[in-house]
């Protein structure tokens, strides 16, 4: 296959990362934060997949990127699970999953 703009993919992943960062900076709901982080993570995965595909043109290269992507997808899912465990424990204790309210520890 041909014709896909390399720079375009890179720019797209940048935009996705930006959206993720934007979400992390502005959302207070823990679950939305998880989503924002996932968006950012996915921008990295997208890069790995896409550049894996491009580097495939060089013998011996490329497959590494897609292998990383596989691992990262698993990793991201694990992270979400851990995050959810924390949010549930927190919710049980505080009755809220608004991260901006958890400020016992400060200064």
């Amino acid at each position: 296959m041909t014709g896909l703009p390399l720079a375009g993919f890179l720019a797209l992943s940048a935009v996705l990362l930006g959206i993720g960062i934007f979400g992390i900076l502005t959302r207070r709901n823990f679950i939305l934060l998880l989503i924002a982080i996932e968006v950012a993570m996915n921008s990295a995965i997208l890069n790995f997949v896409v550049f894996g595909a491009y580097w495939g043109g060089v013998p011996g290269y490329g497959i590494e990127g897609q292998s990383v992507a596989v691992v990262l997808i698993g990793l991201a899912a694990t992270e979400v699970a851990v995050g959810l465990a924390i949010v549930l424990a927190l919710n049980r204790l505080r009755g809220s999953i608004n991260v901006a309210e958890a400020t016992v520890l400060k200064l």
Binding site: I21, I24, L25, R28, V99, L107
Partner: protein, 669 residues
């Protein structure tokens, strides 16, 4: 150059050592002795040994005049390394020096010292703190003798400071009296000013001689040549005339401090807060003469500079008049004598400045005896009536017969009435200035002042005599009944009376006179004849006349128990006030000390605490403030923390993508 007593010269160090041992004994064990007077006898013993030995050595010097040095005590050695100002290093050596000058001083100091010590035994017996007194007095005597026998200027300075500190302690002997403590402080500080100047002078000599020539390494020579420059003068070519002039002025400053010359004279009258014995010994006969002695021993160099000579003449001449004028109005018996001392010291300085070093010494010699006599007599009076106020006394002639006669002899001697000692020496002083003024016209004013002072001297001392002894009874009836002093006090008075009569004539004994003429053998400044000149008859007559006139005036005004008081509206009243207030110098000094020096130091303290230390605190506050502000960033909201991460990221990205490529040095471009 060798006489029968010369064998004693190597043992000269025992002269100061004897009172020093007395000092140690009294100082350590004085308070444990069963009777406190025993300490006094120990001190008297020390002084006696010193006197015997000192007089014997002086006699030895008379019999075979010459310079004997013994420099065996290595105080301080720095080996040389071939470079710098002192390529051969230098040694500061301590030793003893016996020569005509020190012989004269030995006699004065040991004799007066012994007599005063003896006098003290009864005079002081009522006081507490006797061990302290005797220890300090012995230490003083030891230091003074050390100074007299000093072999070099540094050693001289060392003992010079020690006598100063003894003087300090003895002035403040009655330390619980604020006035005494204050007077002691004043004496120390004012003389300290002089001492510091003196030290500066020493430095100049030290360095100048070190660089003068290859043969003058300090290690080899020490510096007796400052004293006995004769062999070295040929090498000198005064290396740096400016420095030498300056050194002379500095030495003069030191001498002025110790000898209470204008403008450092303010402390001596106040020093009368100490016991009278102390005044007699330290503040009349010996320590205050050390300044004159200093000028005498350094006159070789000072004489090189006309500026220095003039400065000495000016200060001496002015001081004679200045102090005598204040003596004329004072009501305190000791203070009058103290002013008189200042004035007489002025004469000595004047003579040295005029180039007649030995004339100054001569006057020092006679003055020591008659002034000590006056003080001891005054002490006997005070001892008898327990006051120092002349206006309360009167009629003591009857009860204090020996004392009154002693005082009279002292007064006549001071007034320069022949044939008493004072007449000869004062006459010599006047004629030496007269001689010098022939070639140095600018000496004339000081000659005139000195001459006028003769009249004033006679007046004030007889004012004292009349107020004290003449009349029928004390003017203040509350005074205790007076009685003559015990033998320990009268004997010294009698001996000193004898000396006050004879000391002047003694120089006509060839051996004794030899000391004075031998001393004059120093080559001095070209232009000032170094020889001792005989008295000009006319001058003598006029001065005796002035003295007699002074006595007469005193009799007219104060004789037979009369008290002269100046009319309230008299034109002389402001002058009297000015003299009583000591020309306001004391006020000015106090003002300077308290208002200027202390204020400046308070200001410095303020700057130290609030500005310098304040800056340090400022740093502390800066960091604290910074810390408190920055802590607010730690808001506890995790989103803020995420924001810091992102800001950091953005900064890095901008740096790496925008800034790095723009700066070739960073590997971009």
């Amino acid at each position: 150059m060798s006489g029968p007593l010369n064998a004693l010269f190597p043992w000269a160090f025992l002269v100061p050592l004897a009172p020093a041992i007395a000092f140690v004994i009294v100082g350590l064990f004085g308070r444990r002795m069963r009777r406190l007077e025993w300490g006094g006898w120990v001190a008297v013993g020390g002084a006696f040994v010193a006197m015997v030995l000192g007089v014997l050595i002086a006699v030895g010097e008379m019999l075979s005049p010459g310079t004997y040095t013994d420099r065996s005590f290595n105080w301080f050695t720095l080996p040389g390394n071939g470079t710098g100002t002192f390529p051969n290093g230098f040694s500061l050596v301590m030793g003893t020096l016996v020569d005509p000058l020190s012989a004269i001083m030995l006699i004065v100091v040991t004799v007066v010292g012994f007599l005063v010590m003896l006098y003290s035994v009864d005079y002081m017996h009522r006081d507490t703190g006797l061990p302290r007194y005797y220890a300090e007095l012995s230490l003083f005597l030891a230091s003074m003798l050390g100074l007299v026998l000093a072999d070099n200027l540094l050693q001289f300075f060392l003992f010079w400071e020690l006598v100063g500190v003894c003087s300090y302690f003895l002035i403040g002997f009655y330390y619980q009296r604020p006035a005494a403590a204050s007077a002691a402080k004043e004496a120390f500080l004012v003389t300290r000013v002089g001492d510091v100047l003196f030290l500066g002078g020493i430095y100049i000599y030290f360095q100048q001689f070190a660089t003068a020539g290859p043969g003058l390494g300090w290690a080899a020579a020490g510096f007796p040549f400052v004293f006995h420059g004769a062999p070295f003068l040929t090498l000198l070519h005064p290396p740096n005339p400016t420095l030498f002039t300056l050194a002379g002025l500095l030495i003069l400053g030191g001498a002025a401090g110790k000898s209470a010359q204008f403008p450092l004279d303010v402390w001596l009258p106040d020093a009368m807060e100490g016991p009278t014995t102390v005044s007699a010994l330290i503040h009349a006969a010996t320590m205050v003469a050390a300044g004159v002695y200093l000028l005498a021993v350094t006159s070789v160099f000072i004489g090189f500079s006309a500026t220095d000579s003039f400065a000495i003449v000016a200060i001496g001449g002015f001081t004679t008049f200045w102090a005598a004028s204040m003596a004329m109005v004072n009501r305190d018996i000791k203070r009058v004598i103290a002013y008189s001392t200042v004035s007489q010291l002025g004469y000595m300085v004047l003579a040295i400045g005029a180039g007649f070093t030995m004339v100054g010494l001569y006057h020092l010699f006679t003055h020591a005896f008659f002034k000590a006599l006056l003080f001891l007599a005054a002490g006997a009076v005070i001892h008898a009536v327990d006051t120092q106020d002349l206006f309360k006394m009167g009629g003591l002639r009857k009860t204090l017969r020996i004392t009154s006669i002693g005082f009279l002899i002292g007064g006549l001697s001071l007034a320069g009435i022949p044939p008493l000692a004072g007449f000869f020496s004062k006459d010599d002083v006047l004629s030496s200035v007269y001689t010098a003024a022939q070639t140095h016209p600018m000496y004339w004013p000081f000659f005139v002042l000195a001459f006028a002072t003769v009249f004033m001297t006679a007046y004030y001392i007889f004012r004292v005599w009349f107020l004290t002894f003449s009349g029928d009874r004390p003017r203040d009836p509350t005074l205790p009944p007076a009685h003559e002093a015990p033998w320990t006090m009268t004997v010294p008075i009698l001996i000193l009376s004898g000396l006050a009569i004879l000391a002047g004539a003694l120089v006509f004994v060839p051996q004794i006179g030899g000391l004075f003429t031998a001393g004059v053998g120093f080559p001095a400044t070209p232009g000032v004849p170094p020889t001792y000149t005989t008295t000009d008859i006319l001058l003598s007559v006029v001065s005796v006349g002035l003295g007699a006139g002074g006595i007469l005036t005193a009799y007219v005004l104060w004789g037979n128990g009369r008290v002269f008081s100046l009319a309230e509206d008299s034109a002389a009243q402001p002058i009297r006030r000015l003299l009583l207030e000591r020309y306001y110098v004391k006020t000015a000094v106090d003002w300077f000390g308290l208002r200027v020096v202390y204020a400046v130091s308070r200001f410095l303290d303020f700057v130290d605490e609030y500005i310098i230390d304040g800056t340090v605190h400022g740093f502390e506050r800066l960091f604290s403030e910074l810390s408190i502000r920055l802590r607010r960033l730690q808001s506890g909201v995790v989103l803020d923390y995420a924001a810091y991460v992102v800001v950091g990221l953005a900064v890095f990205l901008v740096f790496l993508y925008v800034i790095v490529p723009a700066i070739p040095a960073l590997g971009g471009g």
